[in-house]
């Protein structure tokens, strides 16, 4: 039984331009102790699906059309707001992209951290403070007592993000959802934060859902990866499945279009032609069809069902004409880069 199971989730937004299908019948699971990366571009639905898990969607204008989210035997979508509030922070917590705006600039760090413990646990103020400092230390924050009493503007971006992570770990949640946690940070700070997340996963067993658009980040940190497009599943599998044995043309296009350190100056890149889909005009056809070089007539007529790629399960994709990956194991990779 997976720790978190999202089944057939659909979320719509009411906008001036019409009904926008942000998430369109999406299903996935998160196993206990694993790191799942959700990759996609803007409009792919990756953030919305996780906000739904956390119960943080603004209900008008959003509307949960269908689906269930099973966590520990309960359907989160059926919980009352008060029950969901208890769950949030305690069992499932989330950190966001911009550490600059996630912390209240008028309150000290101590106030913000203690607030979490006060709401969710029975600790006394003294016990709570000890716990907070403990977590700050575990996260490698230098001079934790000093930082504890600081205001957000006195801290750098990397430190703020660590405080955010600390805040989300205070109650030892089972699941940590990180929505683009390092996009706004410098690359050297990014690697520190990613190492930190890896550490949390290995040493505390916290399952992590990492939302990002950076495939490099995914390659280093994630056990399994889900690629989303147009609010739907493009492909999901283990890290190796996605990078070496990809099936969906979008995954392949994405991997081929990103410049990596292997490119030579003056090389031409291979972009995916066209632009991301208009989510108000999505329907019963493959969302990627207008940009796909392999698309045939039926791609435009009916949305492809979820197929399984391998016998042992775990590798799924939505495509009628999957690619046969040319990449394979490390040998081929070495051959490519030399």
């Amino acid at each position: 039984m997976a720790l978190l199971e999202v089944k057939d989730l659909s979320v719509e937004f009411k906008t001036d331009a019409g009904q926008l299908r942000a998430v369109d019948r999406l299903s996935y699971e998160l196993e206990d102790g694993e790191v799942l990366g959700i990759v996609g571009e803007s409009g792919s639905g990756k953030s919305v699906s996780c906000l739904t898990v956390m119960g943080l969607l603004p209900i008008p204008p959003a509307r949960i059309f269908s689906g269930q989210i099973h966590f520990r035997g309960q359907d989160l979508l059926k919980l009352y707001a008060s029950q969901m509030r208890k769950m949030r922070g305690h069992e499932i917590s989330m950190i966001f992209q911009d550490p600059f705006t996630s912390l209240n600039p008028y309150l000290k760090i101590s106030t913000q951290l203690m607030e979490v413990l006060e709401f969710h646990s029975n600790k006394t103020t003294k016990e709570a403070k000890i716990r907070c400092i403990e977590v700050l230390e575990q996260l490698g924050i230098p001079d934790p007592e000093v930082r504890f009493n600081s205001y957000p503007h006195q801290l750098s971006g990397g430190l703020k993000q660590r405080i955010m992570i600390a805040m989300s770990l205070l109650l030892e949640p089972k699941i940590l959802i990180a929505d683009e946690p390092t996009t706004a940070l410098d690359v050297t700070i990014q690697s520190q934060i990613l190492d930190l997340l890896k550490d949390i996963n290995k040493n505390h067993g916290t399952s992590i859902i990492l939302i990002t658009h950076d495939l490099g980040v995914v390659a280093g940190l994630c056990d399994r990866v889900q690629v989303m497009y147009g609010g739907r599943l493009a492909e999901r599998g283990s890290c190796d499945d996605i990078f070496y044995r990809m099936k969906h043309p979008y995954t392949q296009g994405l991997l081929e279009s990103i410049p990596s350190l292997d490119v030579s100056p003056g090389d031409r890149l291979h972009p995916i032609p066209g632009s991301p889909p208009d989510l108000t005009k999505i329907g019963d056809f493959c969302a990627f069809s207008d940009r796909c070089s392999r698309a045939q007539k039926n791609c435009f007529e009916k949305r492809p069902p979820v197929e399984s790629a391998s016998q042992d399960g775990g590798h799924f994709y939505e495509c009628y004409y999957p690619v046969e990956a040319r990449n394979s194991s490390p040998e081929a990779v070495n051959a490519r880069s030399s």
Partner: protein, 318 residues
């Protein structure tokens, strides 16, 4: 190469659509529109002039329950032939809103007063706008010491008792119509300047302003083509709130006797005129009072509607 170009949807169009959906604002616009039209053509169409006195028809109310009872209780003769009975009430068909203490037609005076009040309101708003926008945008753009000085000047003016100055000005220079709106406008530009300055400061660091520099546009070009058009939203909203305030202030001044000169009427002066006999002839005060109130309401609804419609946050984010 085709010569046909597609038309774009400016942000104003979006705002207008949002405005149309706001019922209070639409109601406000309608009422105001009617008042404006009535103010302009009313006095022209009316068989009476605003100053024509008819001493046979002094203080004739617009309607009474019974002409005889009224004459008895008030000791005032009414022209019986002016009144027709409709649904049991005697309604004055000659002077639809009655007459004042000099027999002048209330309706005509009301509409003439509307001209005065609306004109003063808008012109004062315009004066305040022009001075405020220029002052504020220059202060915000130049920044540094100049901005500091300019704003301290504004602060000083703010702390002065403005009403006092207007009254002083009117008392010294005479009660000219033009002076009225200049006085009110000249004092209310301060807040406009502050608002515009704040907007300009937050806009001038945006990348499209840097891009305009790089394109070779000069300082004045940047202020007029890039900064001011992007501050129009708050400016328009503020303008729609200045106007009712100016109207109210003019009414107050006229009520004090410092506004328009007799025999010209403004709503404030009409209330002042009827003040002494308000218990006997309440309609002389109520009618201009209600007109003023409704007009102010509608302008405020329009202002609120404009603010909601022009708020850039409303552009949907996905």
């Amino acid at each position: 190469m085709s010569e046909k170009f597609e038309k774009g949807n400016s942000l104003w169009k979006d705002a207008f659509k949002r405005l149309r959906k706001n019922k209070a604002a639409v109601a406000g616009f309608l009422f105001f529109g009617i008042m404006l039209v009535a103010a302009i053509i009313g006095p022209m169409l009316s068989p009476y002039s605003y100053e024509g006195q008819d001493l046979d028809r002094v203080n004739n109310p617009p309607w009474v329950y019974s002409v005889q009872d009224y004459e008895a209780s008030h000791g005032l003769p009414l022209m019986h032939k002016d009144y027709v009975s409709i649904f049991g009430i005697d309604v004055n068909k000659k002077n639809l809103f009655g007459t004042d203490d000099l027999g002048r037609d209330m309706l005509t005076r009301l509409l003439f007063g509307a001209r005065v009040s609306l004109a003063v309101g808008f012109l004062a708003g315009l004066v305040s706008l022009i001075i405020g926008v220029l002052y504020g945008s220059i202060a915000g753009y130049v920044g540094g010491r100049v901005d500091n000085l300019m704003m301290r000047f504004v602060d000083t003016l703010y702390s002065l008792p403005y009403m006092f100055f207007v009254i002083l000005l009117m008392a010294i220079a005479g009660r000219h119509f033009v002076l009225l709106f200049i006085a009110i406008g000249a004092v209310s530009w301060l807040t406009t300047a502050r608002i515009v300055r704040g907007q300009v400061i937050s806009l001038k660091n945006l990348e499209f302003v840097e891009a305009a520099y790089a394109s070779g546009t000069g300082h004045w070009g940047i202020i007029t083509k890039h900064l001011i058009p992007n501050t129009l939203g708050p400016i328009i909203v503020y303008f729609s709130l200045i106007v009712p305030r100016a109207i109210l202030e003019e009414s107050f001044l006229s009520f004090l006797g410092l506004g328009v000169q007799a025999p010209m009427s403004s709503w404030g002066s009409m209330v002042a005129d009827g003040r002494s006999a308000v218990l006997l002839y309440p309609y002389v005060v109520i009618i201009p009072g209600v007109a003023l109130t409704l007009t102010l309401f509608s302008l405020n609804f329009i202002g609120d509607g404009l603010r909601d419609a022009l708020d850039p946050r409303l552009r949907g984010k996905q």
